[in-house]
C-alpha cells in the first residue's frame, strides 16, 4: 500500500526565520522521490512537516489525498528513517524491528514472526537476537529500514540515512535501497545534499535552495535542462560564462561574452539585451577549435581514472573545468599552456541571470 504525498503551498517560519516558503509538489504513489539541496535549504524541515513533527505555518500536507493537519507523527501513514538511525540500543534487533507492532498491541509471537520475515527481506536472517551495537554500519542501516517497514507505512521518509557510511558501502546501499523500494512499492521520500545520490536513485528530484523550490524533474532533465542558475551550478559540475543575449531564434540563444559570442539552448524566459549566463558541462568540452570556442590557461590536470579533469582559468579569472576521456588523453592540453575547447550549442544552456 503506497500513498501519494502532496504539498500545497507549504511554508514554515521559526520566529523571524523563514525556513521554507511556498513549496508545492506532488509525489506519486510508489515513486522514489528525492529532495536535494545544500544544508540549511529547508529540506529537513519539509520532511519533518510531512512526518508530522512540525506543523507548517502555511499551506497543507496531503497524504493519500487526506489533509494531515493536526495529526501527529504517530497518526500519519508515514515512517521515518533518521539520520542517526535512532535504533534503540538496549533492545535486541528483532524487538527494534517489531517496536511499531508492539505499540499497536500485536502479540509477542506474531511480532517475532513479522520481525523474522523482515529480517529475511533485508538479508539479515538469524540476526534477530543480536543487539544493534553488535552490527556493522550497513547492517544497522538495514535494520532501521526494516523497523520502518514493519508498520507498513504508505510513505517512507529518509533523512540522509547514508551520510554516516563510507563511500563503498554508501554506493552499495544506494542500489539496495533502490531495489527495496521497487520490491515493496512504498513511496520513498529521500533527503540528501549529495547530488550523485539523488541522481542515481530517484525517479524524480526536487531541488531546494534557501527555503525555495527550484525545480522538480527527473534526474536526466535536471542535468540537461536546469531551470534556474542555482540548479545549473548545484547539480553536477558546470562552466558558467556570463554575458548578454544578442540573438534568439529556434530555441537557441546567442550570448555575447568576454570570450566572444557563444551559442546555447535558450531555457526559460529570455529576451534580447538581458544579462544571461551560458552553462556548459565539463564533458561537453572538446579540446580544439570549433563554432563555440573557449580559450583558457590550463593550470593542472587531475587524472581520475575514466577521465581526466583539466582545470584552467579564463582571461577574466573565472574557472574552467573540462573532462577529457582517458581514451583521448593525447588530445588534452599540457598544464601551463593556453588552450582552446569547443562545444556543440545543443550541449550548452543559456539562462537569464536571476
Amino acid at each position: 500500500m503506497s500513498h501519494s504525498v502532496e504539498l500545497d503551498g507549504i511554508g514554515m517560519s521559526f520566529g523571524a526565520t523563514r525556513a521554507v516558503s511556498d513549496v508545492s509538489f506532488t509525489v506519486q504513489p510508489g515513486e522514489f522521490f528525492s529532495i536535494l539541496g545544500p544544508s540549511g535549504c529547508g529540506k529537513t524541515t519539509i520532511l519533518r512537516m510531512i512526518a508530522g513533527f512540525l506543523e507548517p505555518t502555511e499551506g497543507r500536507v496531503l497524504i493519500g489525498n487526506r489533509d494531515m493537519r493536526g495529526l501527529g507523527p504517530n497518526q500519519r501513514p508515514t515512517a521515518m528513517i533518521f539520520q542517526s538511525l535512532a535504533l534503540f540500543p538496549l533492545m535486541p534487533v528483532w524487538e527494534n524491528i517489531a517496536f511499531g507492532l508492539e505499540a499497536r498491541g500485536v502479540g509477542r509471537a506474531e511480532r517475532r514472526k513479522r520481525a523474522d520475515e523482515l529480517l529475511r527481506l533485508i538479508a539479515l536472517e538469524g540476526y534477530g537476537d543480536r543487539m544493534p551495537g553488535e552490527l556493522s554500519g550497513g547492517q544497522r542501516q538495514r535494520v532501521a529500514i526494516a523497523r520502518a517497514l514493519a508498520v507498513e507505512p504508505g510513505v517512507l521518509l529518509l533523512d540522509e540515512p547514508l551520510s554516516a557510511l563510507d563511500l563503498k558501502l554508501r554506493q552499495h546501499m544506494r542500489a539496495e535501497l533502490r531495489a527495496l523500494q521497487k520490491r515493496t512499492g512504498v513511496t520513498f521520500i529521500y533527503i540528501t545534499h549529495d547530488q550523485s545520490e539523488a541522481l542515481a536513485m530517484s525517479d524524480r528530484v526536487a531541488v531546494m535552495s534557501a527555503g525555495l523550490l527550484q525545480q522538480v524533474a527527473t534526474p536526466r532533465e535536471l542535468y540537461d535542462n536546469p531551470a534556474t542558475p542555482f540548479v545549473a551550478r548545484f547539480v553536477g559540475e558546470t562552466n558558467a560564462v556570463a554575458g548578454r543575449i544578442s540573438a534568439i531564434g529556434d530555441g537557441m540563444a546567442r550570448v555575447d561574452t568576454a570570450l566572444g559570442p557563444l551559442h546555447g539552448r535558450a531555457q526559460g524566459a529570455v529576451a534580447i539585451g538581458q544579462a544571461a549566463t551560458l552553462y556548459v558541462r565539463p564533458e561537453a568540452l572538446v579540446p580544439g577549435v570549433g563554432a563555440n570556442t573557449l580559450r583558457a590557461r590550463v593550470d593542472r590536470m587531475d587524472f581520475e581514472g575514466a577521465f581526466a579533469l583539466v582545470h584552467g582559468q579564463f582571461p577574466d579569472g573565472a574557472a574552467l573545468t573540462a573532462a577529457v576521456p582517458s581514451t583521448r588523453l593525447g588530445d588534452a592540453p599540457a598544464p601551463g599552456t593556453d588552450a582552446s575547447f569547443f562545444f556543440a550549442p545543443e550541449h550548452a544552456v543559456v539562462l537569464a541571470d536571476a
Binding site: 512526518a51 513533527f53 501527529g72 507523527p73 504517530n74 508515514t78 515512517a79 521515518m80 533518521f82 539520520q83 542517526s84 535512532a86 534503540f88 538496549l90 533492545m91 517496536f99 511499531g100 508492539e102 505499540a103 499497536r104 523497523r147 520502518a148 508498520v151
Partner: protein, 293 residues
C-alpha cells in the same frame, strides 16, 4: 594509580596516596571497627571492663530482635525509607525528563537554580521551614481552610510530615542522577518511538527508563540511604507515633547511656541498608561502579 605517579611524580603521588589511606583507615575503617567492637560487648560498669563478663556476644542485636516496639520501628524505618525513595522518584522523574529533553537552555538554568539554591541552606533550617509550614496553626492549614477545602486544621506532623520533609530534602540527590542519565538520550530515539506509533507511556517504559536505569537506581540508593539515616526530619516533623529508628539509636547513646546497644542498633541499620541497596542494584542489573559515576 600509575596515572597518578606519571602525573605528579613519585614524591607527591606517595603523599596523596598515603593521605587517602590515612583518611580511609582513621575516618572510615577505625570508627566502624570500634562500633562493631562496641556492638558485640555488653554494657558494663567501668569496674568490670576487661573482666570475665566482658566477652563478645550477639546479645545487643538479639535485644533488638526481641524488643517488639524497637523492631517495629526498625522495620517501619526501612520500608518508609523505601517509600521516600519511591515518592522522590515519582516527583523527580518528570522534572528530570523535562529538564533533560524538553527545556530550553534558559528554562533549564532557571530550573537548576530553583532546585539547587535551597540546598545552600542548612538541612536543619530547611526542615524547620517545613515545620513552620505544616504547623497546626501554620500557613498550609490557613490556606486550605481559607479556600474552603478543609473545615478544621489538620495535624500534618507525623508520618505525612516526615515523608514530605524527606522527599523535599532529598530531591537533588534523585534529580541530578536521573537528569544526567536522560540528558544523554538521543532525542531522535524519542521521535522514532513516537513516529512508530508508540504512546508516551510506552516510550518512557521501553526507551527512556531503560536508558536512565543506572541514574534511577543511583538516585533511589542515595535517597534510601539518606532517608534511613535521617535524624532531623523525623525529629522535627514527626510525632510520638512516627518515631524513626535513628531516634532510638540516639536515645541509647545519649539518654540511655548504653553505647553498646546503640552501636548494635546502628550496625544493624547499616547492614540492612547495605543489603537492601545491593539487592536493589542486583534486581535492576546495575553495577556499583555505575552508581559511583
Amino acid at each position: 594509580m600509575r596515572d597518578l605517579y606519571a602525573r605528579f611524580g613519585g614524591g607527591l603521588a606517595t603523599v596523596f596516596l598515603s593521605l587517602v589511606l590515612i583518611w580511609l583507615a582513621a575516618m572510615v575503617l577505625a570508627p566502624n571497627l570500634m562500633m562493631i567492637d562496641y556492638a558485640l560487648r555488653p554494657n558494663l560498669p567501668p569496674a568490670e571492663l576487661g573482666g570475665p563478663r566482658d566477652v563478645w556476644s550477639l546479645d545487643n542485636v538479639l535485644y533488638l530482635a526481641n524488643e517488639g516496639v524497637h523492631r517495629a520501628i526498625f522495620l517501619k524505618t526501612i520500608w518508609a525509607s523505601a517509600l521516600v525513595a519511591a515518592l522522590t522518584l515519582v516527583v523527580c522523574y518528570p522534572i528530570a525528563f523535562w529538564m533533560a529533553q524538553r527545556a530550553t537552555p534558559g528554562q533549564l538554568s532557571i530550573a537548576l537554580m530553583l532546585v539547587i539554591i535551597p540546598f545552600f541552606i542548612n538541612e536543619v533550617l530547611r526542615t524547620l521551614a517545613w515545620f513552620i509550614l505544616l504547623a497546626y496553626r501554620g500557613p498550609l492549614n490557613a490556606v486550605l481552610q481559607g479556600i474552603g477545602l478543609i473545615d478544621a486544621p489538620i495535624r500534618w506532623q507525623g508520618d505525612g510530615g516526615v515523608l514530605a520533609g524527606m522527599v523535599y530534602a532529598y530531591i537533588l540527590f534523585m534529580l541530578l542522577p536521573i537528569y544526567n542519565a536522560i540528558e544523554s538520550l538521543d532525542k531522535s530515539q524519542l521521535e522514532a518511538a513516537r513516529d512508530l506509533g508508540s504512546p508516551t507511556w510506552r516510550t518512557h517504559w521501553r526507551v527512556v527508563i531503560p536508558h536512565a536505569k543506572a541514574g534511577i537506581a543511583t538516585g533511589c540508593v542515595f535517597t534510601f540511604m539518606l532517608a534511613a539515616g535521617s535524624y532531623v526530619a523525623p525529629a522535627l516533623l514527626g510525632s510520638p507515633g512516627s518515631r524513626w529508628f535513628t531516634e532510638i539509636i540516639y536515645n541509647w547513646f545519649f539518654e540511655g547511656g548504653d553505647w553498646n546497644r546503640g552501636a548494635a542498633y546502628a550496625l544493624t541499620l547499616l547492614v540492612l541498608c547495605l543489603a537492601v541497596v545491593l539487592v536493589t542494584l542486583r534486581v535492576f542489573r546495575v553495577n556499583l561502579t555505575d552508581v559511583a559515576k
